[in-house]
């Protein structure tokens, strides 16, 4: 049984988060680095180039990498201080097993014994309950090599259908929408196409805090005359000086895009030739927006009618444009519909597949793109192939040297894995690069499911909040302790280089997976000696697929500052811009630039359904969640880096002064926010930059500071993304004594 071995406070005492600051060699200016390693940041999907200074097998600082073309030396605060995650006091140096008599509830065990125990439990659970009773949860911050190996480990070694990944909480609505409309899931353009456009449309993307390096691209576009349109319930820093800000009511994005399409049709701001030659489905989409007049759109979206008219006019009359969105429109129970409606206004404009005519989702995680292409997603095989397709199964099984019939069929998404635990269908779990107790919605439910597992093993470098429930913890590698590739926001495959060796018994994650395969007596296919060998097999497995990496090599990546997939042959330069006129792809085979047999993009009727839980009399406010600039995702790394914690020490509840006044709340007061699922007590931050009917809480914190105690586990029916961006809450002022007790406990 997986239980907390000690109280959370006792575990924190032993395993942190402890705050690391610059000290010792890192402060000593006399230290000449042994080497300077060109690599990339470990955090978000921008994947900024950075040079790490290494001395005596420690990362002691950084130097900007001015030559890397995407960021040219620029970094956000997370990138600047990322080096402090190395040589950290909380670092897991040994395998551990739960032991309530040990300090912090865990005692070190020999690595080999821990692997044997994990393998024996996997074997027992799968023999007793069937192969699908053991599930894997993986992550999109891993290198593509590791994500490929995780998919192969699930499908070939364990033969379980149940593997999914934390990209389920991130990019899947965009991915599903892109596949429906374009037949391929990748940013359509390199970021250089942002500069020189007439209009940059940003919907639901807090660029300044979540993708800071993109800011300079947006500002540079404006320097050259572009209008910047931002749609968000909050005036985020990128919205502060935009040309048009549309304060949308949470959950209404599809209505806004449909209203814009309505105006484009009414004013004939359409590219008829493009629509005729390169798309299908326009008439049905047009019919579906017929009723969405500006007046009706304004009422439904909460945006002033003249702002909608202005946005439509700028968008409609532009000759070049770039539309970007992120989790703000994707984290919804109708996230895919939001994405499809956004793509509709791009297709109607005909502005795609040309220089300065672009469209992209801003991928969130380090390897958000590569991590969703090569088989750790529940329905997928390498090369963005489908696990349900007989043809695709045959290809990959051929590369893996197995019978296609032995591959499992598609499994379920990450949240459904927990529901299957609840139903007793899943009994064992292995997690890596995923902290669901902090990052999944309605996490009280997640906690209850962890307690039902017969066996849980976690691979990590710090003891994250979920791993506290593990029977066995295996010490994995930090980003700078391994090499491999990731695919960043533009679809550019880049190289992560190793700077230091793992300390103690810790080792590269792919070795740990292979050690478990060997302990299971199924090491065939899991005998790679280095990441390059995994990558070379991945190239063969992806060959001929949509995400074709077959022509990419480590050397080519270094020589060209990254390679944009698809890159189907050794002499192929890569594909920075998708959908160019006359371009070839393996689905259309010359019929057209889009990835369907007829080569045409699809308009889709984008249907509005209200959020799963809109405000009502009992819970009258919208709660929306998101990130702050100095923290990353579940905070497992950034909550351990002192200067980043100092910058944003604790979550606060952002609310408008008119709401605060009504509730008798002053800035800094303790406030309870409560939903039908849970409550949290945090300090108020009273600002005029948020809609009066909405509160915002960032989600990077754990335990009693976790906003995911409140969020709803409603999911998009297609992408299965949870609805983090909307649920109904109420707030009340809390007296100081109650608040202090609740927070400390």
């Amino acid at each position: 049984m997986s239980r907390l071995p000690k109280s959370a406070a006792e575990i924190r005492e032993q395993f942190g988060p402890t705050l690391a600051y610059t000290s010792g060699m890192r402060l000593d200016t006399g230290v000449e680095p042994d080497k300077i390693v060109k690599t990339h940041c470990c955090f978000c999907g921008q994947q900024c180039g950075i040079q790490l200074k290494v001395y005596d097998n420690q990362v002691v600082g950084f130097e900007p990498w001015y030559e890397f073309p995407f960021n040219k030396g620029k970094l956000c605060p997370k990138g600047v201080k990322r080096y402090l995650q190395g040589s950290h006091p909380d670092r897991l140096l040994h395998a551990m097993q739960q032991d309530s008599s040990s300090p912090g509830g865990f005692r070190p065990v020999a690595y080999g014994a821990a692997i044997q125990r994990a393998a024996a439990e996997i074997e027992r659970i799968q023999t007793t309950y069937g192969p699908d009773a053991f599930a894997l949860l993986s992550g999109a911050s891993l290198t593509t090599e590791k994500t490929y190996l995780m998919g192969k480990f699930a499908h070939m070694c364990l033969r379980t259908a149940n593997i999914d990944y934390n990209g389920r909480l991130c990019m899947v609505s965009a991915g599903a929408g892109n596949k429906k409309a374009f037949g391929v899931d990748r940013a359509a353009n390199p970021w250089s196409d942002i500069i020189g456009t007439d209009v940059v449309w940003i919907s639901g993307a807090n660029i300044a805090e979540c993708a800071p390096i993109t800011t300079d691209y947006v500002w540079q576009a404006r320097e050259q005359g572009a209008k910047i349109i931002v749609v968000d319930p909050r005036i985020t820093p990128i919205a502060r000086t935009c040309d048009l800000f549309m304060p949308i009511k949470p959950g209404r994005d599809v209505l806004l895009f449909n209203g814009i399409l309505h105006l484009m049709i009414e004013n004939d701001w359409l590219d008829h030739d493009f629509i005729e030659q390169h798309t299908t489905g326009f008439d049905a989409a047009a019919a579906s927006v017929k009723d969405w007049t500006p007046a009706k759109t304004a009422q439904a979206t909460g945006i002033a009618e003249r702002a909608i008219q202005q946005a439509a006019e700028w968008w409609g009359t532009a000759t070049k444009s770039f539309l970007m969105h992120a989790r703000g429109i994707e984290h919804h129970s109708h996230g895919v519909q939001n994405v499809l409606s956004a793509i509709n206004i791009v297709l109607a404009s005909g502005r795609i597949g040309r220089p300065q005519c672009g469209y992209a989702t801003i991928t969130g995680q380090a390897n958000g793109q590569g991590g969703r292409e090569h088989g750790q997603k529940c329905d997928q095989l390498p090369g963005a192939r489908d696990l349900a397709s007989p043809e695709h199964r045959a290809h990959v099984a051929g590369v893996w040297g197995m019978n296609p019939d032995d591959l499992p069929m598609p499994g379920v998404d990450a949240y459904e894995i927990f529901r299957k635990i609840d139903r007793g269908e899943i009994k064992g779990l292995l997690s890596i690069c995923f902290n669901p107790l902090v990052s999944l919605p309605d996490n009280g439910f997640v906690r209850a499911q962890l307690e039902k597992l017969e066996f849980y093993t976690a691979i990590d470098f710090f003891l994250n909040e979920t791993a506290r429930y593990a029977d066995i913890v295996l010490p994995g590698s930090l980003h700078e302790e391994d090499e491999g590739t990731v695919t960043q926001v533009e679809g550019r495959v880049i190289k992560i280089n190793k700077a230091v060796d793992s300390p103690g018994d810790a080792r590269e994650d792919w070795r740990i997976i292979q050690d478990i395969a060997r302990a299971l007596g199924r090491e065939r296919g899991f005998t790679f000696q280095e990441p390059r060998e995994i990558f070379d097999e991945l190239r063969r497995a992806s060959a001929g697929g949509i995400a074709d990496y077959s022509g990419i090599t480590y050397e080519k990546i270094e020589a060209q500052d990254g390679i944009f997939w698809p890159c189907p042959s050794d002499d192929h330069p890569g594909t920075p811009r998708l959908f160019e006129p006359g371009s070839w792809n393996p689905v259309a085979r010359g019929a057209g630039p889009f990835y369907f047999p007829d080569g045409k993009a699809r308009f889709n009727v984008a249907v509005y359904t209200s959020p799963a839980e809109d405000p009502d009399d009992e819970y009258p406010l919208f709660l929306t969640t998101g990130r702050v600039v100095s923290h990353f995702l579940s905070g497992s790394q950034t909550r351990r880096i002192g200067p980043l914690v100092d910058q944003y020490p604790e979550p606060r509840i952002e609310m408008h002064p008119s709401l605060a006044e009504k509730m008798g709340i002053n800035d800094g007061d303790w406030v309870t926010a409560e939903s039908r699922r849970g409550s949290v007590i945090l300090k108020a931050s009273i600002v005029r930059t948020i809609r009066p009917d909405t509160i915002f809480i960032p989600y990077h914190w754990a335990d009693r500071q976790s906003v995911n105690q409140l969020t709803i586990s409603a999911q998009d029916p297609i992408s299965k993304i949870p609805e983090y961006k909307v649920c109904a809450v109420r707030i009340r002022k809390e007296d100081t004594d109650t608040a202090a007790g609740a927070v400390d406990g």
Binding site: T22, K74, P77, V80, P237, I303, A304, V629
Partner: protein, 212 residues
């Protein structure tokens, strides 16, 4: 590569997103001993996300040096006003009080004044300062005048600042809108402006919200 002397520093607060990458990176400069010497403040977070980064402006006639009784603050030939010389600084706070831009800060732990020295170890050998290197919005830009003119056609650099009757010229430039008629920045102007409107007419959020 142009010679270091041709590089200049340009500040454009309208680009600033308040991310504090500059603050975090400033402490990483070898001569700053882990201490951040750049300042970044919200103007008024309750109203706006507007922030303003403040580096040392490196005045041509630095007030901080003029008021220093210990002659601890030197302006080198390249126009950089250096941080206080440790053996001379008596931690009297004169410079802290006198600087019109509010740049020098007393470091009580080290018992001396410290301030931005434009990453002298870097800029003196042709490297960019840390803050402008990392700045994601390029509100802080370090490069040549030709580069900034090509990159920023909507604004122009100004390096004169009016405080009361005094006009101070500096090595560091501030970007002002192209249509701005003055060739100097009136630093105290905002003190005499009306406070921001508290109703819908001038509120960028409420003004664009739907009303019945």
């Amino acid at each position: 590569m142009p010679k270091p002397a041709e590089y200049e520093f340009f500040v454009d607060s309208s680009r600033c997103i308040g991310c504090q990458a500059c603050l975090q990176a400033c402490a990483e400069c070898d001569t700053h001993k882990g201490i951040s010497l750049i300042q970044l403040d919200f103007i008024d977070r309750s109203v706006s996300t507007q922030t303003a980064p403040v580096v040392c402006m490196h005045c041509n006639s630095p007030t901080c040096a003029e008021v220093c009784p210990a002659d601890a603050i030197k302006r080198t030939e390249d126009g950089i006003v250096q941080t206080a010389l440790k053996p001379r600084c008596i931690a009297c706070n004169n410079c802290v009080l006198a600087c019109p831009f509010g740049v020098p800060k007393m470091n009580t732990g080290m018992n001396m004044m410290m301030k931005c020295n434009m990453c002298y170890d870097r800029t003196s050998v042709g490297l960019k300062p840390m803050c402008a290197s990392v700045c994601p919005s390029q509100a802080l830009y370090y490069g040549t005048r030709e580069e900034i003119e090509a990159l920023r056609p909507r604004s122009r650099p100004v390096n004169s600042f009016q405080f009361g009757r005094q006009i101070i010229t500096t090595k560091v430039n501030m970007m002002v809108p192209l249509e701005e008629p003055l060739n100097f920045v009136k630093m105290a102007r905002a003190m005499y402006d009306a406070p921001p409107a508290q109703d819908m007419t001038d509120d960028p959020l409420l003004a664009n919200m739907y009303t019945e």
